[in-house]
Amino acid sequence: MLWLIAQKELKEIIRQGVLKILILTVLVLLLVSLVISFSYNRYIDSLHIKSEKESRELWDKQGDKNQHSAAHYGLYLLKPKSPQALWDNGLDRYTGAAIFIEPHVRNNTMFKAVQDSPMLAKWGEFTPSFIMLYILPLLILWITFNIISREKEQGTYRLLKSQGVSSLKWIAGKASAVWIITILLIVPVFLTAGIIFGKGAFFTVESFLLLLTYLLYAGIYIHIGIAVSALTKKSEISIIFLVGFWVLTTWVIPKITSSITQNIYPSPLESEFKKNIRDEIYKNGILRHDINHKNTIAFTKKVLKEYNVNDVSELPFNFNGYILQAAEDTNNIIFDKHYAELHKLYKKQTNVYTVSGLFSPFILARQISMGLCKTDLWSHINFTKATDEYRKLFIKTINEDLIKSPYKPNQRFIRSNDLWESIPKFKYKLPGLKLFSEHYKYVYSIYLLWFVVSAGILLFTSKKIKF
């Protein structure tokens, strides 16, 4: 009977001109967004590969130089895009994807798309996730808002009941029809896009979970849409309620959450954050380029005393290299401390978002989508941590070479390409599911709860339908 009801619903939906146009429109929008996203990501990827290659070539071939001068020449490191980023560009446009590494300082990422294109910040991106999380729910609401109330209004429900159809089977049949349409709309597009644009690397557990996430999100709207239609006597009331739900959960609650989060756990301004680090380094760090700084003087005295010599030229190693590495080691502790505090703050902020997800499935779906596409905050932090580890290794290798070099006052030791080329290349692997589960296990649990509760509400309403 379930399939019988679903079949009839599908037939009716397909025969309704407006719905047919709406379904086709969403399909076209989804395909267009995929093509745009693919083109953009391919452009960014090729740019990254080219930039990183050129940056490395310039580093390798910079010629004869003092090690420290060479280190200041620096390197650009770029974050690769995951195959899933085709669906959701997430925070990449805000966080940027390139880091310049150099001695003494831990730089932030640069080349943020929103800076290059301010309109992007204002209007957002036309991505497949935008279609899945904003537009698809509207289509589902349009299909479901009168799926039950229409039958009550026109009287077919009485005729159905007189045939002995149970409300539960009737509602389940209708839900099945909308599920079928949704699955037929999403799954083939998802798989085809994976085959055409993903080149095999797309079909991973992350992609499966992403598809599941989008389907669950659609499912929440299917269940709520049908439940509201069943509980309201008039279709007008049903559509008002459902559009209200959409506005509230996709626009209002996320904005309110953002404001609340910023009030409870305000993020420091970048300038303020950098100043705090600078101040602490000035207070507790070693300023190699400021030889008159008290900490630099104290460190020099300590080393001279330790080796029982009167001048740095008497030390058994190159003091310039030694103090540079000491400054790195000391200052890195300060950098790490400040960044760890910042990340703790971010965690607190995302916890507020997770809790607000109890009131908005959109907030949860958005976070999960970005997490699985590796365009979220934690993937960004994972990348910046990896670049900083590489920076530490990169600088240490240079400094250690300098330490071994003969020390001649007022004369800089020169090294050539063989040293620059010996520095290992930056190899970054995007984070796997471990990072995702670490940060999203509760988010996904609440998300699943939304789905289960919405299905429960639908079951419950089958007992509450009135003529």
Binding site: M1, I5, K11, G155, T156, R158, L159, S162, Q163, G164
Partner: protein, 233 residues
């Protein structure tokens, strides 16, 4: 067979049906007359299990409808005052859907035959119901009853709003069903149609069956006078 035994139904403080007893045997068409609010539709709704009686029992083919709602519905067909079907489906698709829901499976030819038997013009069988008149929709309703092989037919003001020709066609079909031993309970305001179609006539007032007649034994003028008198009092 349709049977109501001592049915009482109240909505708030208002008693809509008051210790009502009705029995319609196979091959009988019982026309229930009554003013608006007399309780006619409430009685139909109780037989359909849409609402429950406060006391008393209702039976369809000797099945207690409250105890066995699904079983009782297997034997009945229902046509409301304004039968609405699915406008995006054709006449035959609507018939197929409703008969399938009732657990019956027919071939396309058999379904076409039911619709023809119910009086639907052949050129409308495969047209969308959105272009159907009320009379045509009622005929699809009759076809559903025929296909379901229902032994009980509940009709709630089925001829109101029908033109004379359609109402006459409807009455003819009911007579055919009567001859197939179907028990029909029809609520109506239409005295003339009740006299012409019904085998028995009852007058319902304030939830009580205040008078019953055998249709053949009473002439129209007397019925009209009696009905008006009852309604006036």
């Amino acid at each position: 067979m349709i049977e109501a035994k001592n049915i009482t139904k109240k909505f708030g403080s208002k008693t809509v049906l008051n210790d009502l007893n009705i029995k319609v045997n196979p091959g009988e068409i019982f026309c229930l007359l009554g003013a608006n609010g007399a309780g006619k539709t409430t009685l139909i709704n109780i037989f359909l299990n849409f609402i429950y009686a406060d006391s008393g029992k209702a039976y369809i083919n000797n099945i207690d409808i409250e105890k066995h709602p699904s079983d009782s519905k297997k034997h009945l067909a229902y046509i409301p005052e304004n039968l609405m079907l699915y406008p995006y489906l054709t006449g035959i698709e609507n018939l197929k859907y409703f008969t399938n829901l009732a657990g019956k499976k027919y071939t396309k030819e058999e379904l076409e035959l039911f619709l023809s038997e119910a009086g639907l013009q052949k050129n409308y069988i495969h047209k969308r119901v959105s272009v159907f008149s009320k009379g045509m929709r009622q005929k699809v309703g009759i076809a559903i009853a025929l296909a379901k092989n229902a032994k009980v037919l509940l009709l709630d003001e089925p001829t109101s709003g029908l033109d004379l020709k359609s109402a006459k066609e409807f009455a003819d079909i009911l007579n055919k069903l009567k001859n197939k031993d179907v028990a029909v309970l029809m609520t109506t305001h239409d005295l003339f149609r009740a006299k012409e179609t019904g085998t028995d006539i009852g007058i319902l007032k304030n939830g009580k069956l205040i008078d019953t007649f055998v249709s053949e034994e009473i002439n129209y003028d007397i019925l009209e006078k009696l009905y008006i008198n009852h309604i006036k009092i």
